[in-house]
């Protein structure tokens, strides 16, 4: 520990020296440096609010779907669609709603940003809760019932702990999704004006707008530092802690992102700081527990009260569902009964070009991630030196890299039209590639040593080894990674195909572009086109999931599953 602290002290001194030098030679950058911590706090606060909202939603929604079979029939498909649909597509509509409702006041914009981040976090968490609650071992349920656990007590001792592993796992995923959406939403153009909330995302975007290279670098650096710091002091310890709640019989799943304990293993863990924190949190937890037990005892003595609450709950759910369904049917009917707007003729071509762009980005991603994953997954040395670099790179949301990518594209192509095309593909690539890489690494690592040794003892080398051992071992994780990567790619379209803050705005034809101009480029948003574009996207995404990924996945899990 002495060595570590010594190194930290040296690092701190270097940082202070650099800071002084910067302050003297670049006053503008120094001013940024003072503002940036504040911006970091603002952005993180938004993330925390959105996360807490998602947590409450996930637990309520997941628990209701798990305990109420009738409700689950409707709740699960809704969740399935929301989880796989490009949520960013709804962003324009949500913005318009919040901005209009709050008449352009900062509160409305703030709420819109938080809502957007929420939509990127909530669904997989709710699924995690649902899955955990429906897979509690029968005997554990029986024990809980026969020892009389009911209500809050059952929730606290059985349901919540059983949900924790998947909840934490999905929280880590959601949190990194959240950054992508945060950066995308802190600055946006609508109704001919630009709305900005102070934060790291808007700072980076504005620096990009002003062509301020130091500003871009500083913003991205601070963002990376914040992401890494939170991963180190919050998510990684949480991931380790959640291990305690795993049922012993369930195996490990193939992670869609690096698993919490592998990720950032090289960073310090601050055991003393964490102990102090938990020690101070202990009294609060105890008091809460006492109160909840008292509450539970009061109510479980009155089964009628419980029944009434459940009934009210169900009635409310039914009313909301009815409203949603009626509104949806009504809206769709209006949309398709009236003549389609002329712009709708562009939809098929736009869909095709968006798809081609994503496919190109996917192909590029595969081309470099498969060999690299094969190497990192089998070489401890490669893993040790390269993993930290890759993790830092992956921790940056593609939206934050937007200014750099656009600048790079302009530099390379030297004209705006092709630059837009190149940057659109690059942004999609940066949104997709990390999911593939880390899943593939996990897949290679999951190949049992026995299998590798058997291959070596039979002299399997070179192409034969790839064909017989490596590639089959990668297939399941390649599919999981692909599903997630394509989901991220569709979301990226909305920020990549139209870049409103440049003048004139570079754009390429595609669904994201259609959606953006339908929302932002008119005095009033074109609701019909917004809806039609989103519907087109949803249909494509769902079709790909149902017709391509799911069947492939099912076949792969039968054919390539490695028995342990």
């Amino acid at each position: 520990m002495r060595g570590l602290r010594g190194r930290l002290r040296i690092l701190a001194s270097i940082a202070i020296l650099v800071a002084i030098a910067v302050a003297v030679f670049y006053p503008q950058a120094a001013w940024n440096a003072i503002q940036l911590p504040l911006f970091a706090v603002f952005s993180t606060t938004r993330m925390v609010f959105a996360y807490l909202l998602s947590l409450v939603f996930a637990i309520t929604y997941g628990a209701t779907a798990a305990t109420n079979k009738r409700a689950a029939v409707i709740m699960l498909p809704i969740l399935d669609v929301l989880q796989s649909v490009p949520i960013l597509g709804f962003f324009p509509a949500a913005l318009v709603f919040f901005v209009v409702t709050f008449q352009g006041s900062p509160v409305g914009i703030e709420l819109a940003v938080i809502f957007l981040i929420f939509t990127s976090m909530a669904w997989n968490m709710a699924f995690g809760v649902y899955e955990s609650l429906t897979t509690i071992p029968v005997d554990l349920e029986a024990a809980a019932a026969s020892f009389g656990l009911r209500g809050m007590l059952r929730f606290r001792l059985l349901a919540l702990p059983a949900a924790i592993p998947k909840l934490v796992y999905n929280s880590i995923l959601s949190w990194s999704n959240g950054w992508f959406f945060l950066v995308a939403s802190e600055t946006f153009t609508a109704f001919g004006g630009t709305y900005t909330r102070p934060g790291l995302g808007s700072f980076i975007t504005n620096a990009g707008l002003a062509g301020d290279a130091t500003g871009i670098a500083l913003g991205i650096g601070v963002l990376a530092a914040v992401v890494l710091a939170l991963d180190t002091i919050v998510w990684r310890p949480l991931g380790v802690w959640s291990e305690r709640f795993r049922m012993e019989t369930t195996g490990h799943e193939v992670p869609r992102v690096p698993s919490p304990y592998e990720r950032f293993r090289w960073l310090p863990r601050f055991p003393r700081l964490r102990r102090t924190f938990w020690a101070s949190a202990q009294p609060v937890v105890t008091r809460y527990r006492r109160a909840s037990v008292r509450l539970d005892r009061t109510y479980s003595a009155h089964p009628k009260v419980l029944r009434d609450i459940r009934f009210l709950d169900l009635a409310m759910f039914a009313v909301i569902l009815l409203l949603v369904v009626v509104a949806g049917v009504f809206g769709l009917a209006r949309l398709f009964l009236s003549p389609l707007p002329p712009a709708a003729a562009e939809l098929p071509r736009a869909a095709a070009s968006s798809f081609v762009r994503l496919a190109l980005a996917y192909a590029i991603a595969l081309a470099w991630t498969i060999p690299l994953a094969a190497w990192i997954g089998r070489s401890p040395r490669g893993s040790r030196y390269l993993t930290p670099v890759l993790e830092v790179a992956a921790s940056l949301p593609a939206t934050a890299l937007l200014p750099i990518i656009v600048g790079f594209a302009i530099l390379v192509t030297a004209s705006l039209g092709p630059a837009a095309e190149v940057s659109a593909v690059l942004i999609a690539l940066f949104s997709m590639q990390w999911y593939l890489l880390f899943n593939l690494i996990a897949g290679v690592r999951a190949i049992p040593d026995d299998l590798n040794e058997a291959a070596r003892s039979f002299g399997l080398r070179g192409r034969a080894y790839w064909r017989r051992v490596l590639l089959p071992g990668m297939v399941p994780s390649l599919l999981t990674g692909s599903i997630t990567a394509w989901g991220a790619g569709w979301n990226a379209l909305i920020v990549s195909e139209y870049i409103p803050f440049l003048n004139p705005p570079p754009h390429v034809s595609g669904l994201g572009y259609l959606l953006d101009i339908a929302t932002f480029n008119k005095p009033l948003p074109d609701n019909e086109m917004i809806l039609l574009t989103i519907l087109t996207m949803i249909v494509i995404v769902l079709a790909m999931n149902k017709l391509l990924w799911r069947p492939l996945y099912k076949r792969a899990s039968v054919k390539y599953r490695v028995e342990v």
């Binding site: 029986a142 924790i164 012993e248 037990v293």
Partner: protein
């Protein structure tokens, strides 16, 4: 004869799959009094677990009735406790917390809970492991926790579903003898034991009375009083006589 603690009246259980009826249990009927040690034996899949789940109120029978002290059984009845083949310990709770589960549900304040939990942790020989988590324990120790948890609510009737089937033979034998001691000790619960097993030897070793079920659907083939003196010796010819008789009944 003592008054009946438990009455199983013409219990029948069917599952329906794709509109077809699968009968699992057919007209099970027996009684159990205080001081009884009853074993239900039958081949795997004959519905023993299902019968036990019905008896403790975790599942309703398709027809028939289970009465405990004269009134219909409820799952959360604190006079009946359950021990599981898979132990069913909560992995996130310590030994003490697991043992306190039923007491907490009854609303017993922490001090009373701790004292009672300690008493039964000692009784099953787990002193020193109060703060261990289940994953740190061996199979035999886990089942001791399951036993302590069941005894802690001081039940009249202890129900056990193949409690020793996933343990190694030596551990299982030790635990069998301890169960017998607990049952014989008038100062400690339980008053009566109902145990389900597929091992005929185990049933003859433990029970006063053995209820023999046929394979699917589970039907009562016989109800036998085992009048061997205790402690029983597996090597004696009388012991073998009983085992052979039950064996021929099932086959």
């Amino acid at each position: 004869m003592e008054p009946s603690l438990l009455e199983v009246k013409d219990v029948l259980k069917s599952y329906f799959e794709n509109g077809k009826e699968f009968k699992v249990l057919d007209l099970i009927r027996f009684e159990l009094a205080e001081r009884d040690f009853v074993c239900v034996v039958g081949p795997s899949g004959c519905g023993k677990s299902t019968l036990l789940r019905i008896i403790v109120g975790l599942e309703p029978p398709t027809s028939g009735q289970v009465l405990f002290e004269g009134s219909p059984i409820r799952a959360d009845n604190p006079q009946v406790a359950m021990v599981f083949q898979s132990f069913a310990l909560f992995p996130w709770l310590t030994v003490t917390q697991n043992v306190e589960l039923g007491l907490e549900a009854q609303g017993i304040p922490p001090e009373g809970r701790h004292a009672r939990a300690r008493k039964f942790i000692d009784a099953v020989g787990l002193t020193g492991f109060e703060n261990a988590f289940p994953r740190e324990l061996s199979g035999g120790m886990k089942q001791r926790v399951g036993l302590a948890r069941a005894l802690a609510i001081e039940p009249l009737l202890l129900c056990m579903d193949e409690p020793f089937s996933s343990l190694d033979p030596l551990t299982a034998q030790n635990l069998r003898d301890e169960i017998l001691q607990l049952w014989a000790n008038p100062d400690l619960p339980p008053k009566a034991v109902l145990m389900v097993t597929h091992s005929i030897e185990e049933a003859v070793y433990l029970a006063d009375r053995v209820i023999v079920l046929s394979s699917r659907p589970g039907r009562m083939v016989a109800e036998l009083e085992i009048d061997l003196p205790r402690p029983r010796n597996r090597k004696e010819p009388e012991f073998y006589g009983w085992v052979d008789e039950i064996y021929s009944l099932i086959v």
